[in-house]
Symmetry: C2
């Protein structure tokens, strides 16, 4: 795993979350980096989302550091804006950069006042601990209900792209979902980075759903510090960024709250890509499809039904559906298949749903989700306790 040059990472337990595992992470670029971000489109936005947007605008798309805490979303709180600003100021002082070059993020419970001094007091030790080797420590500190760490690295000609992300619930497409930080040492201007990020998000985080809930804190941030000296071609860099973002998004679906199975949905034959994506999303968000997958039940009628309410015009009589490569629906009707054999195939940890509209168009989309199980309910019925 070749990490991009010119970045250092740190993490520690600052006492924000109840359990004593690291809850504060710092990512620093040795030199000012081009920065681009996508934030939640929720009308209720956490203080760090508002401040991060402001800092990016104020710095002209340049950043030195990302300061992230888990355990408290710093959202819907009286002191939210002051807390976020105080933390960025303390980090800027400790790092010797401008406050607008520090981007804040928070994740955790909504509506609980956050104690800024927990973070400002921890900053000296956090900065002290910075190291190019501690990428995984930072990746661990941003997790909440996640069961596993989520990182991805793509190495290209002379530079690399590395990302970390968190998230397993409150996951819904339509924005940059949850928190994700992607670092590269490629040379990319802020404007180009924004364009690349927008495209990458559309085919990764916006094709991901765990429960259909959209968070108030979602942030996906990319830093490009140019430390490799390599200026990649746009297409090539796009491919590397897509690869990292798609891997991160898929890792979130795999670790969805309570998930036992990873589900990939592939829709082809739509009139256009947007229509295919809407159908894929409706299937991915259907609790009936997700519980059927949990129970290894090849109940393809629910898949057809969910597609039917996606708000996309198509002829049901032209639809073929495959589960685990087995055709279960041909031209909108039941196809003969070995039920016992397919049920067994559905017990596997990976489930592939293919939905094809014959002769309709070239619109295609892939989408990732997970099954819906008792575990999701256990986690969310008592999240705050």
């Amino acid at each position: 795993m070749k990490l991009p040059a010119g970045y250092r990472y740190s993490a520690l337990y600052a006492g924000i979350r109840k359990t004593a595992k690291p809850d504060l992470a710092l990512i620093v670029s040795d030199t000012p980096a081009s920065a681009a971000a996508v934030f939640t489109t929720n009308r209720v936005q956490a203080a760090p989302v508002r401040l991060g947007r402001k800092h990016l605008a104020g710095s002209g798309g340049v950043a030195r550091a990302v300061l992230v805490n888990a355990g408290n979303a710093n959202c819907a709180t009286r002191t939210g804006d002051r807390v976020a600003l105080a933390c960025c100021r303390a980090a800027a002082r400790a790092l010797g950069c401008r406050v607008t070059e520090v981007l804040p993020s928070s994740t955790g419970v909504i509506g609980v006042e956050m104690n800024a001094s927990l973070i400002t007091a921890a900053l000296p030790a956090l900065v002290e601990g910075l190291s190019a080797e501690r990428f995984l420590d930072a990746a661990d500190a941003i997790l909440t209900t996640d069961l596993v760490r989520k990182v991805a690295v793509s190495t290209s000609k002379g530079y690399s792209v590395a990302g970390m992300t968190k998230g397993s619930g409150m996951i819904h497409p339509g924005m940059a979902t949850t928190l994700a930080y992607v670092m590269t040492d490629a040379v990319v201007t802020p404007a180009a980075l924004r364009r690349r990020l927008k495209r990458a998000v559309e085919h990764s985080y916006n094709r991901l759903s765990v429960d259909g809930d959209m968070s108030t804190n979602d942030t996906l941030l990319v830093l490009a510090n140019g430390a490799s000296g390599v200026k990649p071609k746009a297409d090539e860099f796009q491919a590397a960024l897509d690869e990292v973002c798609q891997s991160l998004a898929q890792q979130i679906a795999r670790d969805g709250e309570g998930a036992q199975k990873f589900v990939e949905i592939e829709v082809t034959g739509g009139r256009d890509e947007a229509g295919a994506a809407r159908i894929a999303r409706a299937i991915a968000n259907s609790p009936l499809v997700k519980t059927a997958i949990a129970g290894s039940d090849p109940n393809w009628g629910r898949i057809l039904c969910a597609a039917g309410y996606a708000g996309v015009v198509f002829d049901p009589a032209q639809v073929d559906i495959w589960l685990q490569g087995v055709k279960v629906c041909r031209r909108g009707l039941a196809a003969p298949f070995d039920e016992a054999a397919l049920t067994k195939k559905l017990d596997e940890k990976e489930c592939l749903i293919r939905f094809r509209i014959a002769g309709s168009g070239k619109g295609a989309a892939r989408f990732w989700t997970c099954d819906l199980t008792h575990g999701y309910i256990d986690i969310n019925a008592s999240y705050r306790t």
Copy 2:
């Protein structure tokens, strides 16, 4: 319970569903009745939905009978249209009416061919069993995963309105959800009945959600045979119809698959009713809100968050939220409350969420749903087995 005059009901087990409980119901008006219906807006429509729509158009909004089976949705099947028509023809013959005066409905598994002869063979006995007293038998025969029977009666000046409905999963607002049959002996023209039904649905079935899945078979049908000789004022009849439809919709939420709690969401202060309804719907559909209710967790941040992605413009700093009458959020921030006492109140079987936007407008909406529990997953992971 005074049922409307001039209707007879029948039910029996025709062998369509696996368990030997009644699965075929017949509702007959002694004279041709004004008829109006709302059907699913799903692009995938079951054969009886298509045929019912055609019959209503063909008869000019007049009907004599409703033939309903449970156990098979007659959807996405090769023989669906032929089966639906054969059943209506057999009923018309047995009753001595036109085939377009028979409205068919089916509910159950999608994608399994239905055996018409099970129904046509049962029709003589079904017609033989018709009785004005067997309203509840018919109401029982249309149930699937429902745990309880769902009926409502409203008695007005000289006439009454009686309804039966089914449904506990695949419930989503945005259409007439699931199956519902409402009979009245008031004198109402077909055109007026359509207008009244449209309004009643908007404030009842379209304000109901169990799991966000929209069925392929949803049908809400109203018959008005005029047997009472009473021609009610429009407002008065609207109120009676609203009352019955709202009661039926609430009964569905109470009996939602796996539901332990009934949840009412009341939104006030929206710019308009449509906006208030969108906010209420987003809260009702949020799995995170529904699991928090299941766990008696006063996690109001999730309510605010769900409202935030409803696609409605509002200022979060103007929002107040009450749970069980206890203010938990004031002007977008945490309000002080006794957590232990509120948790206990949330253990009750009925949960009321009030969401108010201060000084914004007069748009208000009520919405009904239930909590999300292990039971929902148990039922749907193995629905077909």
